[in-house]
Structures are given as structure tokens and as C-alpha cells.
Amino acid sequence: MTFVGHGAPRDAPYARLNLRRNPFGALEPDERGEVAVVDLEPWGSEIERRLRAPAPGLDRLSVQLVGPPGSGKSTHLAALARRFPSAGHIAWSHEEGWGMLPEGELLLVDDAHMMPRRLLKEALRRPVTVLATHRDLGVRLRGRGRQVRVVDVPGATRDSRVRAIVRRRLEWARRGDGAVPQVDRALLDRLIERHGHDLRRIVGTLYDHLEDLRETG
């Protein structure tokens, strides 16, 4: 491993692999949205319709993205934030807790299962809320007069989607023309078998594989 290296493009650590960086590392929310392989339909279009032409008589809409940690809920939110740039986004932070609700007709809430009741009540006043949550909050939402759509995130994940995610990330990190490393299909099958659709674990393992590849060639 090189401690202090050559940062110039030709000698950059992933240049030999024709990559800008390890594509399986942590991504910022906007980058997550960029590389997301998610199916936002049909509820994405429904959100769009609600935002474009609010119907006074219609109940406000809540979309729940339900799934265990690592299944891709936050990535769905990132893709939504990319599709709806004016949406407000709130997530619990280790340092600052929840903070204030952001502006926006559409509110994206990560870790909604941890949200204090008072804050959730305030959030549900928005015309449309999308909640990423570990458990179904449907009873509470319907009790507040919301129309509720439930998206089973891991259920929507197929093996083909995992492969597409891997390909998309490698393309996203591409440095220039030419080949980029490919993940062996058998390896990916093994990872899917071992981790199911826990994308975070799969991507974490691929991070290490790519680092090994960088170091050893």
C-alpha cells in the first residue's frame, strides 16, 4: 500500500484500473442518486401528479419504503431527491439529532421509525411525504388521514438489480475510455447467496475486493 501517493491523474491509485476511485466506497447523497438503480414507478408518477396539481379534496399522500438496514431505502430517497430537486430531505444525525424540518411540498424522511411523534406529526402536514423506515408505520399514518403506499424495498430487489447496481457503480467511477474492472459473476452470485439482498454488505465486500485488486493487480 502506498501511504502518500501520486495524485496526478496518470499515477492516481485507481488509474491503472481506469477508475477515479473505488466505486464501492461511501457515496454522498447526490452521488447515490446518480448511481441508483431503482424503480420509482408507479408511485413516483403519483407523487409527481400530486405535486403538479394538488387536489384539495384528496388526502395527503405518504409513501413508505420499508426494509431492513442495507436494503436500499436511502438510495431510493436519493433517487427521489434527484428526480424532485425541490424536495426537502431530513435524516437523523449522530451529532445533531433531527434538527428542523426542511422546506418543500415533498418531504423525504430517512429513518422515519426513529422520528419523534411530534416531529412526524408536523412532517405529515406536507402534501406528500416519503418515509424510509425499518417497520411499517401504516397504522399511524392512516390514523392521521393519509393515503398510504407501501414499497417493499428488498422485495423489489432482484439478482439482476444487484448486478445492475455493480455495473452502474463501476461505470460511474470510470476514468476514461477503455475497459474497467468487471465483477466476476460467480463472485456476485456467492455474495448474493451469502448476504441476500443486503446491498450494503455486498458493496462493502466488493470494496475490499477492489482494494485487493488495486494493491496486488
Partner: protein, 565 residues
């Protein structure tokens, strides 16, 4: 990354130093930018790897405001000054890179963005580490439970018993909280007074670090081993909220046995010392919100059939290149040559003066239209031969014979009171040099004493007496104890004049002069308070300056006194 804009850096492969200029142009594809609100460019450092992105030192310029006309210029030059740090870093969990990013601000659409990276290496006169870096590094590197955690654990045990059988889970968690502090308390009960120190706490790559463990047991005590382990770790945090995960990677680990199985006599202070030499390519300490590179030395006293004693001593590795890191003639004799291999490959900084000169960030006037190669994606980097990264796995590093240069030493039990850096005890005449006695530990040879002229200052005679003694001799320690704390007048012939770092508050931001006592070849180092900066600023090699200073400590690694004026 967008194909609408491309950044071309001048000399993209060149490694830059702080204060250099990074210059280039942003090329906008013909037909792009006609609806944009502006074209912007930013220089900053960013991390990438396992941890959440950290970024800093951003400078931003607006290269163009409003839409870019179809028949207007397509190339927009820029230049930025390279910041003081951090240096480019390549690790496994963490990379730090410097970037120039450019983006077209597009209304009601995602901005078109692109970025290029450039390498930054330490400058020739690096700034001292930021205040509090050692403490922050210690906090990041801390593993285990504080005393407060132990109290919480005790409370949890009481609650757990009240809630049995469900309270068993609480009791189990409490045990995890309580065990480490209890182990340490038990170990200290056995060891009596024990201290472990590092000197210096701030060191440059390639520099020496001395670890010293002093034990004064209340009863006769056997130990299996006393070991010090120099460690470099990457610690990164990924995710947010409930997804937050901390990743740790031990980049390198260098164990050093200070003492094997032995007995420590009751009531006698015994000191164990050893030196680590850092690799020339050692990573610099880096502490940010989510990504960290931290160094420390863990001292481990293995007590038979008893909980062991462990202490982590934080260390800052910083490109100070200062007095504490240069290995002079006083280095432990018999040591092998400095490491040339280690867990990293050195950055090859191109020789010769920088091609670009430093200057404030500015926007150069737009030149004539340039037809950039926008019809194709960015030129791919030519394939480079695979580097041969040195093996950095802990096990491999451990077996590497040249890193670190670890030389365990055991000093004789101190017969004289501990040295103090405060107060000025009355000076006593130095006895003449004495040869080592046969029962002294087999030590390293004495330093070569310098021949003194008749009018040499008193300090020179004292130092000559010390240097004539074997390096591990008890007599030498006695002489050093007598020297320490004394005040002396002398004329110093300056060899080096630099800013002080890692010093007490009174001397912070002051100068340190290193040089020889006039008329002798004996080297001393003197710190001056910042109030003397105006007098000292112009001094250079060969200048002579009268000094009145007190010896605060003996630097055994370099066989020279450290003094404060």
C-alpha cells in the same frame, strides 16, 4: 461527470507543494451552456473511500456569469493557490485528494459537473500541526471504556439484578463496560507507580520516537514482557443515523520488546527505553469529521497470572521536518541505516524550482475562443505499469527488518532523584569523566568527546564529561541529572533557526536555535520564547549569538541537551 465541460490542468502530473499555483482551463462544449446561469470552478481537498466524504480548504471562482453565447469563448482559464495541506494520501479505507471541480449552473436541471485531481506533497517549510491535533487524534484513536463508562456499567448491574431474568442482558453489557477499567486498576495495584511517555509527541516521517516506561513497584514483581507497539490506523465512519458504521484498518504495526521476562525489585524505580524510527513515507496524522489516520504507541506490561497493563500514547506524525526529527550523530550507535522500505513508497518530488509561482487565486481574462476536444470524452489516462506496492500487512510489516529501527535499552535503576525541568538548582562542579565500571550494563560506546579550547564555556566542559561516558552507563545518567536544571551562559554558533513546535505554552510560536558552543563542536538546542522572535528572526547559519539558558532535558537519542532561554 458531464461531457459538456472538461477541465485541462497545466502539468496535470506534477506534484505540487503548498503555495504553488494550480492553473488550467475549463472548456465548454459548443452548444452547451447557452441556458446556464454561470460557470463556476472550485478547488478543495476531499476524502474518498470507506468513510463519508469530508472536504475542506475550498476556494471558489465564478468564471462566467449568465448564459454562454454560442459564438463566445469556449475556454475559461483559472488559477488557484495550493493550500497548506493536507498532503495527498493513499490508504485502504481512506484517500485524500485535491481536486479542481467545475460546473455549469443549469436552471431547473442537474448541474453539469466535472473534476480532476492533482497531487500535493509537503512544502519545504511546512506549518506546524494545528493546535489540539494530538488531543483530537487521541480521542479518535481511543478504544475502550472511560471511567464514566465504568460507573454506568455499575449502575446497569444494579438495574440488571432488579430486572432478572431479563436483566441478564444488562448485566452482560455492564460487564463489557466494567472489565477494562477494572483490569487496569488491578494491574496498577501490582505495578505500583508506572508511567509511560513518548518523546517527542510530534515527529516527522523518518524521525525517531523514544518510548520510556518507568516502574516503581511496591513489592518484588515479575513480568513476562514489556512491549511497545507503534501503530498506524485508519478510522473511518460511513453512513448516517442508524446506518452509521465505524471501520478500522491497522495500516502498520511495529512491536518492540523493551524487556523480556524479568524481576523488578521493590521500591526501586526501573526505566525501560526504546526507540522507534518512523518510515520515511509514514502517513501524516489526519483527523477530520469522518476520516482519520492516527498513530499511537501502545505500551503493554505482561504480568504473569494477573491482568496486563496497557496504555496508549498518542503520536502526531507531521511534515515538520524540524529539529526533533533529524537524526544527528548522536543516534544510537549500531543502528542500521534509515529505512528505505516500509509500508509505503516515497513520493518522488520533481527536483528543481517550481514551474509555477505562487499567487493569489484569480481569474485570468478570457482568451480567444479555443476549440477544445469536447467531441470525445476525457482523454483516457495512458495505462501505467502496475506499481509494486510494498506489503503493508501487519504481519509482513512486523517481520520487516528495517522498519522501525527499534533499539530497546534498559537503563540502570535511577540512583538519583528524577530530573526536573523546572527550577534552577545550584550548579555543582562536574566531576571529571569516569570510565564505566565493570558491573554497569553492557552499553553502547561513548560519544566521541570534542577537544575543548582553554576558554571554552563551562557548559562545554560539562557536556564533554557526559559525552565521554558510555551511553548506557550509570555514571552518565548521574552527570546528566546534575546538568539538568542548571543555567549557563555561552555563545552559540547557529546552524539552524526554525519555528518551535510541540513545546510548552510559554514557548509556543517562538524560535528554536540549534548550533554549536562557540569554539567547540558540541551541539545544543535552545528554545526561545516568542518575545525574542524579533531578535532572532534574521539569524542564519554561522551567526553567533550570546545565550543564557537552562538545561531542561537531555535528548538521549541525539546526545545533546535541550535548553530554554
Amino acid at each position: 461527470m458531464s461531457d459538456d465541460i472538461i477541465i485541462e490542468l497545466e502539468q496535470p502530473d506534477r506534484l505540487r507543494r503548498p503555495g504553488d499555483v494550480v492553473r488550467g482551463s475549463v472548456h465548454v462544449r459548443r452548444g452547451s451552456g447557452q441556458t446556464c446561469r454561470g460557470l463556476h470552478v472550485r478547488r478543495s481537498w476531499k476524502t474518498h473511500g470507506r468513510g463519508n466524504r469530508d472536504t475542506g480548504n475550498a476556494q471558489e471562482l465564478t468564471l462566467h456569469e449568465g448564459p454562454i453565447p454560442a459564438d463566445g469563448p469556449r475556454a475559461f482559464p483559472f488559477e488557484f493557490e495550493v493550500p497548506a495541506g493536507p498532503s495527498t494520501y493513499r490508504g485502504r479505507l481512506l484517500n485524500v485528494d485535491h481536486y479542481v471541480e467545475a460546473w455549469l449552473d443549469l436552471p431547473m436541471a442537474l448541474d453539469a459537473k466535472t473534476e480532476v485531481e492533482f497531487g500535493v506533497v509537503p512544502g519545504e517549510d511546512p506549518e506546524p500541526p494545528p493546535a489540539g491535533l494530538l488531543e483530537r487524534s487521541e480521542k479518535v484513536g481511543k478504544v475502550g471504556v472511560s471511567g464514566c463508562g465504568a460507573l454506568v456499567g455499575i449502575a446497569m448491574i444494579f438495574v440488571g439484578f432488579a430486572l432478572l431474568p431479563f436483566g441478564l442482558i444488562l448485566i452482560a453489557v455492564a460487564a463489557v463496560l466494567i472489565i477494562p477499567p477494572v483490569r487496569r486498576t488491578l494491574a496498577e495495584k501490582k505495578l505500583g507507580r508506572i508511567t509511560a511517555t513518548l518523546h517527542p509527541e510530534v515527529v516527522a516521517p523518518g524521525g525517531l520516537v523514544a518510548v520510556r516506561v518507568a516502574v516503581d513497584p511496591d513489592r518484588d514483581l515479575s513480568v513476562n514482557q514489556i512491549q511497545a507497539i507503534l501503530r498506524c490506523r485508519e478510522i473511518c465512519v460511513s453512513g448516517r443515523g442508524t446506518d452509521r458504521t465505524t471501520h478500522r484498518e491497522e495500516v502498520s504495526s511495529f512491536p518492540l520488546t523493551l524487556e523480556g521476562p524479568s524481576s523488578l525489585p521493590m521500591g526501586q524505580r526501573t526505566t525501560f527505553e526504546g526507540d522507534f524510527r518512523l518510515p520515511d513515507e509514514a502517513a501524516h496524522t489526519f483527523v477530520s469529521s469522518n476520516n482519520n489516520v492516527v498513530w499511537d504507541v501502545e505500551v503493554h506490561v505482561d504480568i504473569p497470572s494477573w491482568p496486563d497493563w496497557r496504555e496508549r500514547l498518542p503520536l502526531v506524525v507531521w511534515p515538520v521536518g524540524g529539529a526533533l526529527t533529524e537524526v544527528g550523530p548522536g543516534v544510537v550507535a549500531g543502528e542500521p541505516a534509515p529505512a528505505t522500505t516500509g509500508p509505503g513508497a516515497p513520493v518522488e518530488v520533481p527536483a528543481g524550482p517550481p514551474v509555477e509561482s505562487a499567487g493569489p487565486p484569480s481569474v485570468a481574462p478570457s482568451g480567444p475562443p479555443v476549440i477544445p476536444p469536447v467531441s470525445a470524452p476525457p482523454t483516457p489516462s495512458p495505462p501505467t505499469p502496475p506499481p509494486t506496492p510494498p506489503d503493508s500487512s501487519p504481519s509482513a510489516s512486523d517481520s520487516a527488518p528495517s522498519v522501525p529501527r527499534a533499539t530497546p535499552r534498559r537503563s540502570a535503576p535511577a540512583a538519583s532523584p528524577p530530573r526536573s525541568s523546572s527550577g534552577s538548582p545550584p550548579r555543582t562542579p562536574m566531576p571529571p569523566p569516569a570510565s564505566s565500571t565493570p558491573d554497569e550494563p553492557a552499553g553502547l560506546p561513548a560519544d566521541e568527546p570534542a577537544g575543548l579550547p582553554p576558554d571554552a564555556p563551562e557548559l562545554a566542559h560539562h557536556l564533554q564529561a557526559i559525552l565521554a561516558e558510555p551511553r548506557l552507563g550509570g555514571r552518565r545518567n548521574e552527570l546528566i541529572d546534575e546538568l539538568t536544571g542548571g543555567e549557563y551562559d555561552f555563545v552559540l554558533v547557529v546552524e539552524r533557526n526554525e519555528r518551535s513546535f510541540g513545546v510548552p505554552a510559554d514557548y509556543r510560536d517562538g524560535r528554536t536555535l540549534r548550533g554549536t558552543l562557540d569554539g567547540t563542536g558540541i551541539v545544543v538546542e535552545v528554545r526561545f520564547p516568542p518575545g525574542r522572535n524579533d531578535d532572532l528572526a534574521e539569524l542564519g547559519p554561522g551567526d553567533r549569538v550570546p545565550v543564557q539558558a537552562r538545561v531542561i532535558q537531555w535528548e538521549s537519542l541525539r546526545s545533546q541537551p535541550l535548553m530554554e532561554a
